[in-house]
Symmetry: C2
């Protein structure tokens, strides 16, 4: 049985999840597979790029944040997926050795009229590094099954 | 020297890039690392999920689209990164065996006042499967160096 249902998310609540160090090896490995731009692959080329040094692909940051969120609460929840992302900003480079965490804010929630067994929770997720800088922010809704699943 | 600069993107132009088959093994491998929800990891659990069968993590679809875009034109361009994503919708599940391509539409473009050496090109990217279904759509701007780089 899930621990967190739609009813368990409180509007305005703020929680922090996770702690994950990003290594040079995984930055390069992800980039080689999905985003082989020199600034994500090679230190010398990255120094000449707008990022000024090796930095993770923005999509790698997204994938890392997903894992932090999954381990933080999604895997223990009645999550039924997400329709997409409303907005996502890459604010700061993610560097080798950075330690990342997620700050989750529950913005609002609403039940579904057409599917009474679920509700939408709209979140703001900030990916934060060891210096307290927000490196990425994302707003999106996730669907969760309801505790009193209107069957 | 890059082949594509800011000047080479024509508002309203539509192009198609790539062809990549997504395997069951890579769906599970990506999910195990970044999004270990049962619907992305295990066929039996996935059948009982809202997706009705094994499907790729939405972030895996994003990463695959990035690779198609990179190979399609970004790696031959004066790309200087992206500030983020305006909107992203996951419309259909991506299944094992699906063959994916990207349809790129240039929505609009503008030069940067504060940084005359670059410009912003705003794109719509549709990720399309072998049946012509759009499985994901994304709107975002990418920064490109200008050909007559105001140096």
């Amino acid at each position: 049985m899930p621990r967190f249902y739609y009813e368990d998310f409180q509007e305005g609540s703020v929680e922090r999840f996770g702690s994950r160090v990003v290594t040079r090896e995984e930055i390069i490995s992800f980039a080689a597979e999905f985003d082989p731009q020199p600034m994500h692959l090679d230190e010398a080329a990255a120094r000449r790029s707008p990022l000024g040094g090796l930095a993770a692909s923005g999509w790698h940051s997204c994938a890392i944040m997903m894992r932090l969120i999954a381990d933080g609460f999604i895997l223990e929840s009645s999550c039924m997926g997400s329709p997409g992302i409303e907005e996502l900003k890459w604010l700061q480079p993610v560097r080798p050795g950075d330690r990342l965490a997620v700050r989750r804010t529950v913005l609002e929630k609403r039940t579904s009229k057409s599917r009474p067994e679920l509700g939408f929770v709209r979140f703001r997720f900030d990916l934060v590094n060891q210096n307290g800088e927000t490196v990425m922010e994302q707003t999106n809704s996730i669907m969760f099954g309801r505790r009193a699943s209107g069957a």
